[in-house]
Each structure stands twice: as structure tokens, then as C-alpha cells.
Point group: C2
Chain length 139, copies 2
DNA sequence: GTGATTGCAAATCTTTTGCACTAAA
DNA sequence: TTTAGTGCAAAAGATTTGCAATCAC
């Protein structure tokens, strides 16, 4: 089920991305076998902790290259910040509004029926379900 | 069903917002009886067309005051831009990725079953379903 | 070598804020 | 009057871009 290349090198090669030092470092942080949701700023922080020398601009560029190559998916739940999700399977999310944290919901745990037809001339690209949760009471 | 105050003045008064010239102008543009989805920049443009003298900062501030007062709801579907929705009923959205346009989906047209339990200590605030559509082929 | 990639700083875009001015009650 | 609201310009925060230096092949 889960994407587990034994090495990031092969993953980058398969994606047609030149395996540079920076891409390898970021790829190792992202594709370690556990699904992750990171912002650019967070990944930049992780890279620093791991002593990987990568500029913030390169983190942004790399995230988008990974996304375009089909290795990541972008999730927009908050104004002014993007999350990148390493889980490429069809799934949905809880979004914890207090912590700013995403939690995967496997697609099998949700039954979505009876979507209306999309407008003529358009096709459905994706269905995103975001269940907003909070420690606050009520809705 | 639809919120139709005969005048925006009463709507603002009921919301506890002082009916200033700017709020009245923006309120008339927003609450004319048709549901709308606008960005701050768009509303600023409409105000200009209507010869309403309002600054962009005031448009932003007013949108958030209307939101806090329960007159609007914020929808985040694109990185770096917020839409404000005058439809306060429970509903979902198509998002046309080519046009950057939202289309309401009445909640009755969707059956969502079997959501998983939210994590302990949290409650569900809202469930947002965004059906991303495009004139491009496939998904 | 040669073209792709990176880093930095500057630019961009959306949104927020500080503060003197104006207007509603 | 008194206090809330506004406008402007500046600041902030996330993201993108131009370009010379560097790296992968």
C-alpha cells in the first residue's frame, strides 16, 4: 500500500528528477516510510535539525517539483499556508484547528454517495473532505 | 431558506455592527439576495464599479467583521487566497480550478456516511467537501 | 563542458496593523 | 462629545523569481 522505495535515489530517478544533494536530503526526510503533512517552513526546520544545508527557496521549489512529479500532494485548509502530504492514496483529512495539524482518514472509512453531476464540460479531478475539529465545544 | 433582509441596515444592526457608509455599501453588494463567493480583491473591484469609496484595508476588515458576526463564511480552496461565501446554510462546493470559481452544492445532494470518530478530546466543527473540477481531462 | 539546480536577495502577492483623521450615536 | 470605524502607508508572512555560482552527468 505504502510507497516504500528502499532508497530515495531510485524514487527521484523514477520521477525524472536529478538526484541532487538537496533533493536527496529533503526526500529522505519526507519519504521515510511514514506518511507526513508538512509546511515548507516545517520541512526547512527539519532539514536544519538534520544538518542538511538547503535554502528555504529550494525547499519551496523542491516541494513543488515533488508535487508535479506525483510524489506529494498539496492540501489547502488554512488561509495563507500550504501543507504537503506524502500519502498519495485516495484519502481525506481531519484538520485540528487548534494545533494546525492534519490527520489522514482512509477513504474506506467514509461513504460519500450521490454527488451531483459536475457542470457540463468539466470533469471531477478530486474530492477533498476536510473534517474540521477542535478542542472547543460545539460547532 | 435564503437570508433576505429587506435592507442591509437592519442586517447590520441585528449583527451589532454600526451601519457606516462603507459597511452599507459592501453589505448591499454582498447581500442582494443571491448567494455569492468573493475574494477581498473582487469585492474591492465591485465597490469601485459601484462608485463606493472604500479602501482595500476596509474591505478586508469588513469581510472579517461580517464573518465574525455570522453573516459570511470563509472558504479556503486555493493557496494564498480566501473566498467569502454569503450562503450560511450547511452546504458544499464545486471548485473550478480553471476559473477559480466556487459553485454551491446543497447539502441534501450529498450523502456522507460513516465518518470516523474524531480524536479524543476534540469535536467536529464542520465538514467541508470540495469537489475539484476542471475542463482538463481525467483526474 | 553543458545544462540543470541552487542560494541568495529582491520582488510579489495577499493580508494585517499602527495611527491620525472622520463619522456615528 | 465620545468611541467606533476608516484610510493610508507601512509591515508582515508566505511564496516566487532573477541571476550568478555550483553541481550532476
Amino acid at each position: 500500500m505504502q510507497r516504500t522505495y528502499e532508497n530515495v535515489l531510485g524514487l527521484l530517478r523514477d520521477a525524472g528528477l536529478r538526484p541532487t544533494r538537496q533533493r536527496l536530503a529533503l526526500g529522505k526526510l519526507l519519504f521515510d516510510g511514514d506518511n507526513k503533512h508538512v509546511t515548507a517552513e516545517q520541512l526547512f526546520g527539519f532539514a536544519k535539525q538534520a544538518d542538511a544545508k538547503v535554502s528555504l527557496a529550494t525547499v519551496y521549489n523542491t516541494l513543488h517539483q515533488f508535487k508535479d512529479a506525483g510524489l506529494l500532494r498539496e492540501v489547502v485548509v488554512e488561509p495563507g499556508r500550504s501543507y504537503f502530504d506524502t500519502n498519495m492514496e485516495n484519502h481525506h483529512h481531519f484538520f485540528d484547528e487548534d494545533r494546525g495539524e492534519l490527520i489522514d482518514i482512509p477513504v474506506e472509512l467514509v461513504s460519500l454517495l450521490n454527488l451531483p453531476e459536475p457542470p457540463a464540460g468539466t470533469t471531477i479531478q478530486r474530492v477533498d473532505i476536510v473534517v474540521r475539529i477542535s478542542s472547543r465545544q460545539g460547532q
